[in-house]
């Protein structure tokens, strides 16, 4: 019994933050782990961005310029993997770590040690993946990194995959374990740790969208694990999953992959929907229009996402009934998505809008994400997709939903909550520079891709026909500009992290609502140890 009493006292004594390297490496604190996630994701964002720069340097002019075609393929492959699994997803988990407990009045995440495990798996997983890129660039004999596209279609990844494929398989397994544990933590936190009075239908939408995202993660990351496992056994143990000579089918790979892949794209956008739904009401100074319809729309999008996967495979050969089914299901998704866009606009209608940086990012998100959504609607039409498939039109589409979509959502969140995290206001000048330059360059980068794609420029090639030259030059300029713009974000965040700037009040946005604004800025190490009462 004495030891127990001692542990109790111990616990109460340690309410100040632990210091030194242990604080970060051994952390069980949702804010510190959130910070780790966000920095990791930023690092991966820069690494993946560098790879994009290599791609754009090569494509600036027709003909071969700086890299060999195989290395170009490795760049497109690893750029995709790093941005998705290292950039966007960990950024969202970091935001969930920081904000979900603060928003629902919980003392921490439900399973704090597992939370830290989810994070620390990631640096090791990416060490494996990125090591293969380093080997390819500088190692003896330059053994290629994964070069089959982030979708690793069989047989490119089975029979023809380089040695690094197997390491890629195991690193994807590790990322999956990390994601699943992170998602379990979010779900349990939301279901079990809400403050008294915080009913489900009172939760901020960021919490709702993350809850549904977590469900998607637990449902589809294991399917991805199954896919990479089959790749591994097809390569080494003679199984015939993706080999027609043995009675399997390479198309089976695509079905399994996209059963994961389509929900995955919603995993990368739903939390941003939640962020925008928090920010727009704050700066429009009006409650969110249609809260419950937002919740139901998110849930419908998530459920429909399990029934649309084969819209990525219209040209692969499928029974007509299958193509029609997947086309109609996909088009159906535009209904709940349209509900969301409508609600954001209706929230702003006759609001007293001000345009602080988080709101600027949110507005850019709404407009540019909608462009990406509309091109998605075009791609959903089976006969049109026959024309667009595997062209730059597809590249334009998914970059519009991912960059000015998902990533602008993350930027909006960073500017919105940075004062709460750091206790100081962000540097307004460099924040504006970051916003405007990102906005201009992201469109210069991705909008012309629609044109070259419609004109037939195929994706994933290191070279192109001469008629695409002018557009590609401008696209590359947009790419370099967008990449450089992100240094402004680095400066803004570093300045806040080193506590330089105007001190932030507890609630820096006068129209903001929610529990996170009831705690001091910066948020103390422990918050809501006694749950608040929510009316």
């Amino acid at each position: 019994m004495t030891s127990v009493a001692a542990t109790h006292e111990d616990h109460h004594d340690h309410h100040h933050a632990p210091t030194g390297w242990r604080r970060w490496l051994y952390s069980t604190n949702h804010k510190d782990i959130g910070t780790l996630y966000l920095w990791f994701s930023f690092a991966m964002f820069l690494v993946g961005g560098l790879m994009a720069m290599v791609i754009r340097v090569e494509l600036m002019y027709p003909g071969m310029q700086v890299v060999a075609p195989d290395f170009f393929n490795q760049m497109t492959t690893v750029h995709g993997l790093v941005m998705i699994f290292g950039g966007v997803m960990p950024a969202f988990v970091g935001l969930a770590n920081w904000m979900v407990p603060l928003m629902i009045g919980a003392p921490d995440m439900a399973l704090p040690r597992m939370n830290n495990w989810s994070f620390w798996i990631l640096p090791f997983a990416f060490a494996i993946l990125l090591f293969s890129v380093l080997m390819s660039a500088f190692g003896p004999g330059n053994p290629p990194a994964p070069n089959f596209g982030w979708t690793f279609y069989a047989p490119l990844s089975t029979e023809y995959g380089p040695a690094s494929t197997d390491f890629f398989v195991l690193s994807v397994h590790m990322m999956g374990i990390s994601s699943i544990m992170g998602a379990i933590n979010v779900i349990v936190t939301v279901f079990n740790l809400r403050a008294p009075g915080m009913t489900l239908m009172k939760m901020p939408l960021f919490v709702w969208t993350w809850l549904i995202t977590a469900f998607l993660l637990i449902a589809v990351m294991p399917v991805l694990a199954g896919a990479v496992t089959m790749v591994l056994t097809d390569r080494h143990f003679g199984t015939a999953f993706f080999d027609a000579a043995g009675g399997g089918d390479p198309v089976l790979f695509q079905h399994i992959f996209w059963f994961f892949g389509h929900p995955e794209v919603y995993i990368m956008i739903l939390p941003s929907f939640g962020i925008i739904s928090s920010i727009v009401p704050t700066f429009a100074r009006k409650p969110l229009f249609g809260y419950s319809s937002m919740v139901y729309a998110t849930a419908s999008i998530a459920l429909l996402s399990f029934l649309v996967w084969a819209h990525h495979m219209f040209t692969v050969g499928m029974p007509l009934a299958g193509m029609l089914f997947f086309m109609y299901m996909t088009v159906l998704i535009s209904v709940p998505t349209g509900v969301k866009v409508f609600n954001w606009i209706a929230t702003m209608w006759r609001g007293a809008i001000t345009f602080e940086l988080p709101m600027k990012w949110a507005l850019a998100f709404i407009i540019l994400f909608t462009i990406g959504g509309l091109s998605g609607l075009m791609l959903a039409m089976t006969p049109l997709d026959f024309q667009y498939h595997d062209t730059y039109f597809v590249v334009a589409h998914f970059h519009y939903v991912l960059v000015p979509g998902a990533i602008f959502g993350i930027f909006a969140a960073v500017y919105y909550w940075l004062p709460k995290w750091s206790g100081v206001m962000y540097d307004k000048f460099w924040g504006e520079v970051h916003f405007w330059s990102s906005l201009v360059f992201v469109n210069l980068l991705f909008f012309p891709m629609h044109f070259v794609g419609l004109a037939g420029m195929p994706r994933r090639y290191a070279d192109y026909a001469l008629q695409f030259s002018d557009y590609n030059w401008w696209i590359s300029i947009g790419g370099f500009g967008f990449g450089l713009s992100q240094l402004a974000l680095l400066y803004v965040v570093l300045k806040c992290a080193s506590k330089k700037g105007e001190a932030a009040p507890d609630k820096p946005w006068d129209g903001a609502e929610g529990l996170e604004w009831t705690v001091p800025s910066p948020a103390p190490f422990h918050t809501f140890e006694k749950p608040p009462l929510v009316k």
Partner: protein, 298 residues
């Protein structure tokens, strides 16, 4: 055992998550090198070392030791009364979602089975609009299930359902019943009955695994049913193999819980670890039933 706290327990910093990540890293790097250094396909990749298995083994030991210490900490906190009822619910919900993720992992392989069986094999045989596929690729191929002759001409025998597999089904079903009896004994604080019936459950698990190994030996030696005998062999061994791996894990969990029962760790109202292992066992049981019907029987 002391009274439980009301406060939600947030543990102080712990080294185990980081250390466990190193363990996973060793397993991944060691496992990959081991595979590349020991398979025929691996030889074509030019990985010429012969050390992967050592790193893999080190990683496995590292992981087991880490988890031991991690769970030792957790158990001490639980026995020390630091886990509130609310925390207990967190653990339980976490376990259920983990099992759901396992269900989805199996779903990928079951999905592959249905797709191959209902679509790929008929298509290769010329069904639907695929007459030319059949004609041009493997005109002598006969669509059938189980696929005992692949398009490229490999042959195997199909594993019947009645015999060992049916016996194993009975064994798992009985083990679910004995485990439920043990569960009731735990809730009624009937230590003797708990120990006996949990012991029986563990034995049944081991017997199941023994028969499963027998079946594999029979398949490899007498039937020509191997992992590389075409898609039927692939699906058969991957589904039953992953299931067997889960039975192994479930048995280990039950053994650990058995030792904890002997140490007096559980009470009618503090038994998350035990119930988690029991849920896991029932999950493995249900997967087997599904497997028996669609892999062996139909």
């Amino acid at each position: 055992m002391s009274e439980r706290t009301e406060e939600y327990y947030v543990p102080e910093g712990s080294p185990w998550p980081l250390v466990a990540s190193v363990g996973l890293f060793l397993i991944a790097v060691g496992g990959t090198n081991f595979i590349q250094q020991s398979t025929a396909f691996g030889e074509t990749l030019g990985n010429e070392g012969n050390w992967g298995h050592w790193v893999l083994a080190a990683g496995a030991v590292w992981m087991i030791v880490t988890l031991f210490y991690w769970w030792r900490d957790t158990i001490r906190e639980s026995l020390g009364g630091l886990h509130s009822d609310q925390m207990d619910i967190s653990y339980r919900q976490g376990m259920l979602w983990f099992i759901f993720s396992e269900v989805m992992f199996f779903a990928a392989f079951f999905g592959a089975l249905f797709y191959v069986r209902w679509l790929v094999v008929p298509w290769l045989g010329g069904a639907g609009s695929n007459a030319m596929t059949h004609e041009l690729l493997w005109p002598s191929f006969q669509a059938m299930w189980p696929l005992t002759e692949t398009p490229s001409g490999e042959t195997t025998q199909a594993m019947g359902a009645w015999g060992l597999p049916a016996l194993n089904t009975a064994i798992l079903l009985v083990s679910s019943i004995t485990l439920t009896i043990a569960h009731h004994a735990l809730l009624e604080n009937d230590r003797k009955r708990l120990i006996i019936f949990q012991g029986i459950t563990i034995l049944l698990g081991l017997v199941f695994l023994f028969f499963q190994i027998e079946e594999y030996i029979h398949a490899y030696q007498d039937m020509g049913l191997t992992l590389d005998a075409g898609i039927y062999g692939s699906l058969f061994f991957m589904l039953t193999g992953f299931h067997g791996l889960h039975v192994t894990l479930g048995t280990v969990m039950l053994i650990v819980m058995f030792l904890r029962v002997l140490k007096g760790h559980f009470s009618p109202d503090n038994n998350f670890g035990w119930e988690a292992a029991a849920w896991y066992w029932h999950f493995v049981d249900v997967v087997w039933l599904f497997l028996f019907v669609v892999v062996y029987w139909l």
